[in-house]
């Protein structure tokens, strides 16, 4: 036995344990050859290209069969919930949007719906604001599903779908940039409505975007649906049936792939989803392929909703996008200038030149914020990953007393071991990709 700095061994109560960190594989194999056991513990991540961000998996293997999976998270914990307690109700949106960075609009909407419930203004939100929220959420669902499909395929070794998916995602992000000024983390949805109206002529552009996306989606469908290699990597992999889903609290595409048509947009509508025609997509295979098919089909449903939202927006042209109560709505109508988003010049002219009361009101509302009656509220939205909920507690002050986000990624990631144990080590990648966890949301 020669000393190898990359493959040290030590004696434990369970026998000899070899720690492999690189170096000469042959010398390790010759050393292990003396023992009969083949139990290997592999640490995968947190810096691993196939774990969807900083996810750490500790795998126990017998040969190539996985006997135990332990999941380590927390590497991206940023204390968003704690930070929110030190900002006012409007500023909190800026934090919430950064949790699950692939679905910022959903984070914002869940939080704002909860705050509006606390304020008791749920029914006062202008219809145009709700329609814009729906439009943005469905666009966001597409961009999020594109990452799920693209990176999921990439992690299983398919390069092409990633290029197509990210091409389509860029189209959506460009639309976001045109509407909000930002591609991600927009803080666009605010308590009471949305921060600003759509730019002129946007609905026409959105219809063009829908048209080109609908055509583009065929590329990935042609590449993957029925593709022999793709089927072999995904069919029967990461199996989790309905009983497993309910006991683990799994929602979203994973639950729908087990055959239950549970979609909060249909079951417990919010933002006026009851006024849109769309279908809840399910699969009956409860495996990675089923989840892939669910996401692919949901893209088309999102496009349908976007088209209907665009029609509604044309009818609601010129209506307000913020609640009428001036004690909640920010006083300025924001405007996109040459140097980005800011207060409209007309408003600045008014508060600086003619009305001191407006200036005081503006100052108070922006620095101090509005007060929210004491109590607690729980608001849910159907995010691309499942039930995203915001539990918001107020003590009657200008800041949230406590905000907790029930993140679907966090919850669904628990099913990694149920999906992967007993399978092959290479199939863990497919199973994790089909859950589509976003570590920013998991760790918050």
């Amino acid at each position: 036995m020669t000393f190898d700095p990359y493959a040290t061994s030590r004696e434990t109560t369970e026998g000899t344990v070899f720690s492999v960190t690189g170096g000469d594989w042959d010398s390790l194999v010759s050393e292990i050859g003396e023992s009969k056991e083949e139990r290997i513990i592999v640490n995968m991540g947190p810096q691993h290209p196939s774990t969807h961000g900083v996810l750490r998996l500790v795998l126990e293997l017998e040969g190539e069969t996985v006997t135990e999976v332990r999941t380590g998270i927390g590497y991206l914990h940023t204390g968003i919930e704690k930070n929110i307690e030190f900002r006012n109700w409007t500023q909190a949106v800026t934090f919430a949007t950064r949790m699950d960075y692939l679905s910022p609009i959903f984070n914002e909407t869940a939080y704002c719906l909860a705050v509006e419930k606390l304020l008791g203004i749920t029914n006062d939100i202008p219809e145009r604001a709700s329609v814009i929220r729906v439009l943005m959420m469905e666009l966001n669902r597409i961009s999020s599903h594109m990452v799920a499909l693209g990176t999921g395929a990439l992690e299983l070794g398919a390069m092409g779908p990633m290029f197509f998916a990210f091409r389509d995602r860029e189209i959506v992000l460009d639309t976001f940039e045109e509407i909000t000024g930002l591609r991600m983390n927009m803080a666009y949805v605010r308590p009471g409505g949305v921060s600003q109206d759509l730019p002129a002529g946007m609905t026409t552009k959105i219809r063009d975007v829908v048209k080109s996306l609908r055509k583009n989606f065929e590329d990935n469908a042609k590449l993957l649906i029925g593709n022999t290699i793709w089927m072999k990597r995904t069919e029967g992999i990461g199996y989790l049936d309905l009983a497993g889903c309910t006991t683990l609290g799994i929602t979203g595409p994973v639950l729908r792939s087990a055959g239950l048509p549970w979609d909060l947009r249909k079951m417990q509508p919010y933002c006026g989803y009851e006024n849109y025609e769309f279908e809840v997509i399910t699969a009956d295979t409860a495996d990675v392929y089923g989840r892939f098919l669910v996401r692919m089909a949901e893209l088309e449903q999102s496009l349908r909703i976007i088209e209907q939202a665009a029609d509604k927006l044309d009818k609601l042209e010129g209506q307000p996008v913020m609640v009428a109560d001036k004690k909640i709505a920010w006083p300025a109508q924001l405007a996109l200038g040459a140097d980005g988003l800011g207060n409209s010049l007309d408003h600045i002219r008014e508060i600086m030149g003619s009305s001191m009361e407006s200036l005081i009101h503006h100052f108070k509302l922006v620095t101090e914020g509005f007060r929210v009656p004491a109590g607690q509220a729980y608001a849910v939205v159907e995010s691309p990953r499942g039930e995203l909920a915001a539990h918001v507690v107020s003590d009657g002050g200008t800041r949230p007393y406590r905000v907790h986000f029930r993140e679907p990624s966090f919850n669904n990631l628990q099913s990694t071991s149920a999906m992967s144990e007993g399978g092959m080590v290479a199939d863990i990648i497919g199973a994790v990709a089909s859950i589509d966890p976003v570590m920013g949301g998991v760790d918050r």
């Binding site: 927390g74 006012n88 101090e368 914020g369 004491a374 507690v393 002050g397 919850n411």
Partner: protein, 211 residues
Amino acid sequence: MSQEQTGMFGAKGTGDTSGYGGLVRTSATTGSTERPFGGYFDQVADDLERAYPDFADAITRVVVDRGELTLHVKKSRLVEVARILRDSLKFEMCMGVSGVHYPDRTGAELVALYPLLSLTKNQRVRLEVATSELDPHIPSVVEVWAGNNWHERETFDMFGIIFDGHPGLTRILMPDDWDGHPQRKDYPLGGIAVEYKGATTPAPSQRRSYR
């Protein structure tokens, strides 16, 4: 939330020059909501009373606020109530557990909230359990809803509530050797004081603020 608040600003130790120093506000409602609760809430309460003979003893308060039903459960009865809600009332899913810290509620500083969802009936209910800071133990519901495993670990990590019977109650978001529980109200936010041309901007939790 405090029972009583004075002033408008979070400043302590410095003079409050706002003129609002004498302002006293009381908050926090107590007591149960009177029937009828409205919607499906009456049905849920009736069904639970029928299925659970000890209802009056285990459920201390029934609160309906902002269209949400909250059942305040004695912590010693939590698992019993949870099992009946799951098996008899078809609340198949527990959407996790969220903690809240109320330092002023002596003897019930730590609160755990369990949002439940029934897929069969499309209904929601919330359970609320309170415990003291000195005895931060609440029974675990992981044996009833396995999906609460990570949620309880998170609430333990953030609030220090010890869920008795949890299969492996360890920190999940913070490092294993971390001191303290960050989401408690007496735990400072921290942050880096920013020095700017000789003047210093304190960290967010140290700043004077509006309430």
